[in-house]
């Protein structure tokens, strides 16, 4: 218990020392409508303005359908907003051509999907290396980097296994490894504990905390109290019906 409190205090000091006021992501009146003008038109988020600083641990909290996954996707440059601006390191990405969005996605973000979205039939190692395939990095360098990350997450011994043969917790670690291969500035996770038991969920949160302590910005969309009730979270963004209800900075 004392260790936990000390750790949290240490983190707070650490974050302040790092110049916590560097803004990484800014959304200005961002809205997203799926299938506009169609009978199945859906307003996922409406008029969301948010600031996320470098090194923060942010949780987007809300029930299913609150828009947190959509907001995460917009922040992660997976889709474009219907209205509004999104600034990543001061650069408006909403109107960028697709290849620049992809470059930002590759360089700035590591994404952990709710379903993990690992490619079946492909080995653990290859899945982790995939984000760097379309770069000019040497295959040997990518492989070394991937093996280093897998070792850190205690899954290196299964590097040649096909991912569908892994357990849920193992797949989760592979997904995290893949998100880290490109040394991103921010790690985005969409409902990462949705398919995990309590122990595995705690493992995941611990890994996220460690990454945050290393300086990475963590943004998690989750409705799991195991996630959003953690004391080391810097910012809790509460969403409902596509609107930000409350932002609690700790």
């Amino acid at each position: 218990m004392r260790d936990e409190t000390s750790k949290q205090k240490g983190m707070a000091i650490h974050n302040e020392a790092r110049g916590f006021m560097d803004t990484l992501i800014v959304t200005e009146n961002v809205s997203k409508v799926f299938n506009p003008g169609m009978p199945d038109e859906m307003k996922a988020i409406t008029d969301v303005s948010l600031e996320i600083n470098k090194g923060e641990f942010v949780v987007l909290k809300g029930p299913s359908g609150s828009g947190k996954t959509s907001l995460l996707g917009l922040i992660g440059c997976m889709s474009r907003p219907t209205a509004g601006r999104i600034l990543i390191n001061g650069r408006d990405v909403a109107k960028l051509p697709e290849r620049f969005l992809t470059m930002i996605r590759r360089k700035e973000f590591g994404f952990i999907f709710q379903q993990f979205n690992l490619i079946k039939g492909v080995s653990v190692l290859e899945n982790v290396m995939l984000p760097l395939f379309p770069t000019d990095a040497m295959i040997s360098d990518i492989k070394n980097r991937a093996e280093g990350i897998l070792e850190k997450l205690n899954i290196l011994h299964k590097k040649d296994f096909k991912v569908q043969r892994l357990s849920g917790g193992e797949q989760q670690r592979v997904a995290i490894s893949r998100a880290l291969i490109n040394e991103p500035e921010a790690v985005l996770a969409d409902e990462p504990t949705a398919h995990l038991d309590t122990k595995l969920s705690e493992d995941l949160i611990r890994i996220m905390q460690e990454l945050n302590q290393e300086g990475k910005t963590i943004i998690i969309a989750s409705h799991d109290p195991l996630v959003y009730e953690k004391p080391f979270i810097n910012k809790l963004v509460e969403m409902r019906d596509g609107i930000v209800k409350e932002v609690t900075a700790r």
């Binding site: 889709s79 590759r106 995939l130 984000p131 395939f133 379309p134 770069t135």
Partner: protein, 385 residues
């Protein structure tokens, strides 16, 4: 370069993951290419062989026609043709077809002059008198008669005529001489019961080959019951026959081509849910649209080129090693009788290139285009399904 290598490597592993589907595609694609290229090889080889044969044939052959059919030509016609200006030589030819009931083969029996001393492509020697013959390889094999052996034929009176084999044509001369029997021209007349004042046809030489058609017309006017045949007419006939027959075959297989196109389009356009998901994931983790399309390009090229090359190789073997047994009866017609002969391999790069463009490129396009639709969609949309 490194990037392209890695994308290619991933493509190969992706193809291996869906190996059963891809093998089926390669098999179907390959069969169609095999059939199409077999037709092209066979018709091209036959035409080329025929043209090679015709290269050494007379510029003008004069036959007598009676009731619309060939008849023996009187030797007196030589004298009348010889006076036409521009005529070089007029030589009677003695030859005919002989059906051998023993082997079921049709042979060509050609009479030669005694002053022919040697022939290229002949092992042994030219027959110099009665009772000697030279055989084509096909005849020699069919009748088990090599140099020093005996060949017995039945003449027009039903009498057996025996000849000693003094020469056998080499295998390089298959189309020219495979079914040929060379004997003294007097023996030809006696074998077929030809009157002494008649010949099979006349070999007419002209000084100026560009005047062949004019001279042929003059001969026709002078001798209305004759049929002058120029070398060019024969070449055109071969062309027409093979083009017609190959066209017939192509028409028959047009249905197969259409079916293949439908299959390829169906397979390529209907990206499976797995494939769409994979594209979405790759985009989400940082692959650009151009990377996805490059991957699909390699996928299309590998499958189609593999199928194309396999089809070409099988077609080559089918035509040149196995005698085109699937197509020969339709394309070669009556000539598919003993003795068989081996076609000389001919490869027309132009035709192969055309076939390549007609098969590989459309397939690659039908692989890339549906993938393009998924590749340009936001990964968020694809992954939501």
């Amino acid at each position: 370069m490194e990037r392209h290598k890695k994308i290619l490597e991933y493509t190969l592993s992706s193809l291996f993951r869906r190996r059963y589907k891809n093998l089926a595609l390669i098999a179907v694609f390959g069969i169609v290419v095999t059939v199409l290229s077999s037709i092209l090889f066979l018709t091209h080889s036959l035409k080329s062989e025929a043209l090679y044969v015709l290269d050494g044939s007379p510029e003008l052959i004069v036959q007598k026609v009676s009731g619309g059919r060939n008849d023996l030509i009187p030797l007196d016609y030589m004298r009348r043709i010889q006076v036409i200006p521009g005529i070089g030589h007029v030589v009677p030819r003695y030859w005919g077809y002989y059906y051998d009931s023993l082997t079921g083969g049709n042979y060509t029996i050609l009479g030669i002059d005694q002053d022919v001393k040697e022939l290229k492509l002949l092992d042994g020697r030219v027959p110099t008198g009665n009772g000697e013959c030279a055989l084509g390889k096909g005849v020699s094999d069919a009748r088990f008669a090599g140099i020093g052996g005996e060949l017995v034929l039945t003449d027009s009176r039903g009498m057996a005529v025996s000849s000693r084999v003094v020469g056998v044509f080499t295998s390089e001369s298959d189309l020219l001489a495979n079914d040929l029997i060379l004997i003294n021209k007097d023996e030809v007349r006696s074998l077929f019961g030809m009157p002494p004042d008649k010949a099979t046809d006349l070999d007419v030489g002209v000084y100026n080959t560009s005047e062949v058609s004019n001279i042929a017309q003059k001969i026709k006017r002078l001798l209305p019951d004759t049929r002058p045949i120029t070398k060019n007419e024969i070449i055109r006939t071969y062309d027409t026959v093979f083009n017609w027959r190959s066209g017939m075959i192509l028409t028959m297989f047009f249905g197969a081509i259409i079916a293949f196109c439908i299959l390829a389009w169906d397979k390529a356009t209907g990206l499976s849910a797995d494939e769409k998901q994979e594209i979405g994931i790759l985009k989400a983790i940082g692959w650009e649209t151009s990377d996805i399309l490059e991957m699909k390009f390699w996928e299309g090229v590998i499958i189609s080129l593999t199928a194309f090359l396999t089809g070409i190789i099988i077609a080559y073997a089918h035509v040149y090693f196995f005698g085109a047994f699937l197509l020969a009866p339709a394309l070669m017609g009556w000539s598919v009788l003993f003795p068989p002969f081996r076609l000389m391999p001919y490869l027309d790069l132009y035709q192969i290139t055309v076939l390549l463009f007609l098969t590989v490129i459309p397939y690659v396009a039908s692989t890339i285009i549906p993938a393009w639709k998924s590749a340009i969609t936001d990964p968020d949309v694809i992954m939501r399904g």
